[in-house]
Amino acid sequence: MRLSAETRVAEPADLWDGVLHVVDGVWTHAGKPLFVQGAIGDAGRAHPPKAGLGPDPARWPAELDAAGLAGAVLYPSVAHRLFGALRGDTLRAALARYNDWVLPHASARIKPLALLDVSDPVAAAAEVPRLAERGAAGFLLPMVPSRGELGYECERYEPLWRAIAAAGLPVSISAGGLYLGEHVGTSVTLYSMGDDDPMYGWIHAATEVCAARVVVFALVLSGVCDKFPGVKLCVAGFDASWLPYTMIRADEQYETRPERVGTPDKANTVATFEQFGLSQEREGFSFPKGVVPSDRMGSNVFVTFHDDPVAVRLRDRIGVANLLWGSDGAPPPARSFGGLADKDARRLLADNTARLYGFAT
């Protein structure tokens, strides 16, 4: 049995009539292409991502059968782009259209994620149980909470984590829900790049995963995973071989520079937070003795992959239980799965996804 932890669904062209339009095969908003720079991005994948399921929900069971899948977790192909393109009521209305379209088709085989605007964490928290009741198998959040806002490490998001833990459903972030200018940690050098800069997409493809790392660090190093152990984060769209470095780097920083867990001494620091334009500073989290950040990544962070032989090689380091195969319609690739023991293959191809999303096995 195979279960896909990340299958993209092609949204109908008329889903966002009045807001988004397909012009010459390109999704546009306010006359501008939704996929900036046309083709490169989403961690090097095609734009929009290759959809494993088409726009007609009636055909989804047959399409799953054709792909050899017993079930799939549904991610959008386009809708997550709205996080970077729209704001406020317009964004919420557009997300609602996606949720209204996909959630009624939740079933034992189809597990759709609901998209959640988090600009008001209290409102988002209130939305969580309502979306769960309507069939959401999890919640897809923007990679950066809102353009110009602070990251998920801030205390203002705690109501959201509390609600998600109570719902017992995972949250996801996905490649593609980000504009380059929103990268946390990038510099004004990059900000100065225009959409027509030929290097734009290549740098985006090379560095977008760093924004995913920031979200992982935000949840782990701020103590969210300790305060709310039920919060499980699934990172989709980047494959998985980025995670070992993330684990190693976090442990190294935590263990060798413990003073960085605290807030910088403002009288004795080079990089003041005012210099970085930050409106606040927050202490990091001190784990219980003997626990390091990678332990929490092992218990709370999951990654999808389509074809990533390096990640499969490092599965013991990542955690065999944390690797979830996803399908765009193609079968499991031989270069990733060739030679893998049946027991591990079964976990990557079905068991892990079943456990995280509640598929029957």
Partner: protein, 367 residues
């Protein structure tokens, strides 16, 4: 592997003495030069009109991580620190079981975030004069890296040539150049050409960058855990603009970022390069992929990165350079040989020789 081969650290640091710039900088810039001031119970480096350039404590706390990590602090007074003379430096290397070290700055590189133009050039030249003299007293054990201001590439080339003549083994440039510029721009071609001709690598070191960070996580530890973003962006712009096609012998180093980020990075670029042919900035010659250029031209340093050791066939075993980061708080000193032995235990003797020191000697041209 039964015994460790000769060990060289590809990334260690000097601690600049407080009078370095007051005694050496071009007199025109004396009033703006890096200087040490006391603030309450700590010393600080200031530069220019009074920008805080660096702190003192953290830079000389090697070994504390093992005995009292809670004592690691940015606070420190020069008068409390032992002077790190070349003799004391090599004594520490002996204690650490390390045969030699490539020397990067501790404080000088912080100047990039605060000043530019002629002042920055003057700071770099004064630093280079000092570190080249410093290392020259211990030939065969200490190898200095020169700091190069790239604001004016023609002038940078002259400084590179001068530093090479005087013994510099590599050229340290900022991870990002001035805001609004990027290394894929043609103005930097003379720098790549000069480094290739001089047979010395260009190196990017963590935290040494000109582009000012803008929006960052509010937790200090997170900020410092994602510093690789900058070097990934710069290396991508260099790789994808064909710099290594035009300068096939140029070597480029990513210093103190660890190494296991490499396989995912090159895989992303390869996939995008293959999938988005129409959007290529250049098509690499001979059917090469970005990963081919990375493996040929880019090296990385690490202290403790066992995933990278496991993936040495993907990264390129000749591109993996171990480092001890002495005397900074993160340093593996005085347990470097233990770290190396644990990491290199599973690898072949030939690979261990390369990673422990052979690659460093080869890459930096140390004979």
């Amino acid at each position: 592997m039964s015994a460790l081969p000769p060990v060289w650290s590809a990334d260690s640091h000097v601690v600049e003495p407080p009078d370095l710039w007051s005694s050496r900088i071009d007199k025109r810039f004396a009033h703006l030069a890096p200087r040490v001031v006391q603030r309450d119970d700590t010393d600080l480096w200031l530069v220019g009109e009074g920008s805080r350039m660096a702190v003192v404590g953290i830079q000389f706390q090697a070994g504390l991580r093992y005995v009292s990590p809670e004592a690691i602090t940015k606070k420190g007074r020069y008068e409390d620190l032992p002077e790190l003379t070349p003799e004391k430096y090599t004594d520490a290397l002996d204690e650490d079981g390390v045969d030699g070290a490539v020397l990067y700055p501790t404080n000088a590189g912080q100047a990039w975030r605060h000043v530019k133009g002629e002042l920055l050039t003057a700071i770099a030249r004064a630093y280079n004069g000092w570190v080249l003299d410093y290392a020259a007293t211990k030939p065969g054990r200490l190898a200095p890296v020169a700091m190069i201001n790239v604001d004016e590439p023609a002038e940078a080339v002259r400084d590179m040539e001068d530093a090479a003549k005087r013994g510099a083994c590599a050229f340290l440039i900022p991870i990002f150049p001035l805001p609004g510029r990027r290394y894929d721009q043609a103005m930097y071609e003379p720098i790549w050409a000069a480094a290739a001709a001089l047979r010395r690598p260009i190196v990017f070191h963590v935290l040494f960058t000109q582009g000012v960070l803008q929006k960052e996580p509010v937790i200090n530890l997170i900020r410092h855990s994602v510093k690789e973003t900058h070097v990934l962006a710069s290396i991508a712009s260099i790789l994808m603009s064909g710099v290594f096609d035009r300068h096939p012998t140029l070597r480029l180093g990513a210093i103190e970022f660890g190494a296991s980020w490499v396989p995912h990075f090159v895989d992303r670029l390869d996939r995008a390069y293959v999938a988005h042919r129409d959007h290529r900035v250049v098509t690499l010659s001979g059917g090469a992929l970005p990963s081919d250029h990375f493996r040929r031209n880019v090296f990385v340093t690490f202290q403790d990165d066992r995933a990278a050791i496991e993936l040495r066939d993907v990264i390129g075993v000749h591109n993996l350079l171990w480092a001890n980061d002495y005397p900074h708080a993160e340093s593996t000193y005085p347990r470097s040989r233990q770290f190396l032995a644990e990491q290199l235990g599973p690898v072949s003797e030939a690979d261990a020789i390369r990673i422990a020191g052979g690659n460093t000697r080869e890459t930096y041209g140390l004979g």
